[in-house]
């Protein structure tokens, strides 16, 4: 995703001379080509993120599109008030790029785990919050963010993320993306959990359950129409994010569904519980501790569907199928 981002920005910067890239003393093996091509539009601001955010805002007031690049906690959490006042409040045309979403840097420890950023960024008025699910979404999101004037946060992983979309025919900052059809339940996922959602849907299919998979790259402003319609259709909704369950995609969807009176039989947020991760581990390992691997998610979904069936008299095909599956086990 990092590569997809920087390659896209590199191409855009060729014709758009107003694109500026600031980094917080980071970007080894990623930013070098960009810096070599556009030395007068690249700045290493040092390990001084608060200053970088303020400077990015000021630079943008002179008519530039300023991208700032660092690791998620340092450009969202450490500098929250700078982002709120200097960028959000003043509608600065600054795009904050955070790398290392979720547990990308799992081995580095909890200071580098990034699971509160969506909630923080989402709480700032005027802020667009984008968490692309794969390199293709990252490319399109980068293009869209350059076109869009105003504050935005782009949350990306690292490198080598799996491809979700072989071809992404359309992308807009207003829409979620239907990745897979299904009528039995909806899996709404954002960022690096979109691929896990796809795999979960494959697992569920083996159990006779057809899950729709929706990628929600833009957590704010959220695609109200698309999300309410898929939730109304399936009636059972699961959200997936590598982020605390507090204030992220799951919260956004819950707020939307309740306020719009969308009846759902069951709703569950897959995400990180309200705790710090006081241990090291690979991304995969930490996900497993929190039940966020496709196998674990599928298992949990099956058990939830069972509890739905015991609570309701509705005779839907879904419920019949899920209880058959559970009897077989």
């Amino acid at each position: 995703m990092r590569q997809a981002f920087i390659d896209t920005l590199h191409t855009l910067a060729k014709n758009d001379k107003k694109i500026i890239l600031m980094n917080g003393d980071l970007g080894f093996s990623v930013l070098e080509d960009f810096i070599a091509a556009y030395p007068d539009r690249s700045y290493n601001m040092g390990v001084a993120e608060a200053n970088m955010i303020g400077a990015a805002a000021g630079y943008s007031f002179e008519g530039y599109t300023v991208f700032v690049y660092s690791i998620v906690p340092f450009v969202t959490m450490r500098v929250f008030e700078q982002v709120r006042n200097d960028i959000g409040m003043q509608k600065a045309n600054v795009k904050i790029v955070g790398v290392g979403s979720g547990f990308t840097y799992g081995q580095l420890g909890p200071t580098h785990h990034a699971v509160e950023d969506i909630a923080l960024m989402r709480s700032i008025p005027n802020m667009t919050v984008v968490c692309p699910g794969d390199p293709a979404e990252t490319r399109e999101a980068t293009k869209a963010l350059v076109k869009m004037k105003g504050p935005a946060y782009l949350r990306i992983g690292k490198k080598g993320e799996p491809v979700v979309h072989k071809a992404l025919t359309s992308f807009s900052l207003k829409q979620s993306i239907l990745v897979r059809h299904g009528n039995d339940c909806a899996l709404l996922a954002t960022g690096n959990m979109v691929y896990a959602a796809v795999e979960t849907a494959h697992n569920l299919k083996k159990h006779g359950i057809e899950a729709a998979v929706v990628s929600v790259p833009v957590v704010k402003p959220i695609d109200q129409k698309g999300i309410t319609s898929i939730c109304r259709k399936t009636g059972t909704v699961f959200t997936l994010e590598e982020h605390t369950v507090i204030g992220g995609l799951g919260s956004a969807v819950a707020e939307l569904l309740l306020e719009q009176n969308i009846p759902v039989k069951h709703f569950y947020r897959f995400g990180v519980p309200d705790t710090f991760t006081y241990f090291a581990g690979s991304q995969e390992f930490i996900r497993r501790q929190y039940g966020l691997t496709p196998v674990q998610i599928s298992r949990k979904i099956l058990s939830i569907l069972r509890s739905v069936s015991s609570r309701t008299t509705e005779d839907s095909a879904l419920l019949r199928r899920s209880s058959q599956i559970l009897r077989k086990r």
Binding site: D25, N44, G46, A48, Q107, G109, F279, A280, G281
Partner: protein, 277 residues
């Protein structure tokens, strides 16, 4: 300090470097050059300068050390292990799945770790607070904080510096691991800190400049800092990033790589001949 003691500490420093290389390599983790650079500073502190008791790690009469440049955690963990705070077995879990020893030290990592660091610019304010509380209690203990040079870009470092200088917190000793490289370039090219000593002096600090790999110079400077009253202390330790392994020394890329195979062997071989006999 006598020759014998210096030799002993130098040899511990070699052991620590071997640990750093070994545990980082087996976890395939980077920041290795960063851990190699403050080794003598940590060895001097934990094996000579600080009053500590590994059997009673929370002893209130201890001196405190905060490794503010948390990305050098491997060095701290090795020193704590070698000083008897925990076992070799625990050290070997470094960055492995489920370990409480991630790259960056946490308060919860192990006995002896005084603060959670890793986001640069946090350790000095924390150390400042410790020094304030110790002064409040009229205790004689010192607080040592190890900063990296790139870390000195952070505004919070200078907020603490201003506070400590104005309030004459003479129980606070900052050691700057001045290896002249940061994450994405040379310090002189990214954000030159010079004149660094003058900056701290202007903030009313007592400043000493030393060779940060010279155990004798380090301990002398630290002892002096403990004795001299009226100002906080800044020891500017000139160091080499990646110190001890020829192909890592002063090379930015070794902030990011982990030695494997032949490079690992070479590293251990080079360290092996550095023991003083």
């Amino acid at each position: 300090m006598d020759r014998k003691k210096i030799k002993k500490l130098n040899n511990i420093a070699v052991d620590v470097r071997k640990d750093i290389v070994t545990i980082s390599s087996s976890a395939n983790i980077y920041h290795i050059a960063s851990a190699l650079s403050p080794v003598e500073l940590l060895v001097a502190l934990y094996f000579h300068v600080m009053h500590i008791d590994p059997n009673n790690p929370r002893w209130s009469g201890r001196d405190r050390c905060v490794l503010s440049k948390g990305h050098g955690g491997a060095a701290l963990f090795s020193v704590l292990y070698r000083r008897g705070f925990f076992s070799r077995k625990k050290l070997e879990t470094f960055c492995q799945n489920g370990s409480t020893l991630p790259t960056h030290p946490m308060m919860q990592s192990a006995p002896g770790v005084e603060a959670t660091t890793g986001s640069l610019g946090h350790g000095l304010p924390i150390g400042l607070g410790m020094a304030m509380a110790l002064r409040h209690e009229k205790r004689k203990n010192n607080v040592f904080v190890i900063l990296s040079d790139g870390e000195c870009d952070e505004g919070s470092v200078w907020e603490s510096a201003l506070y400590a200088g104005y309030h004459a917190l003479d129980n606070l000793v900052v050691c700057i691991d001045y290896n002249k490289i940061q994450s994405f370039g040379r310090t002189a090219e990214v954000l030159d800190l010079e004149p660094l000593a003058d900056k701290f002096r202007a903030f009313r600090w007592h400043v000493q400049e030393i060779d940060g790999h010279d155990i004798s110079a380090i301990t002398k400077a630290m002892e002096m800092a403990k004795k001299s009253k009226g100002n906080p202390h800044c020891i500017i330790a000139h160091t080499v990033k990646g110190r001890g392994i020829s192909y890592m020394e002063d090379q930015l890329e070794w902030h990011y790589k982990s030695p494997q195979g032949k490079l690992l062997d070479q590293a251990l071989r080079e360290l092996g001949i550095q023991y003083e006999r």
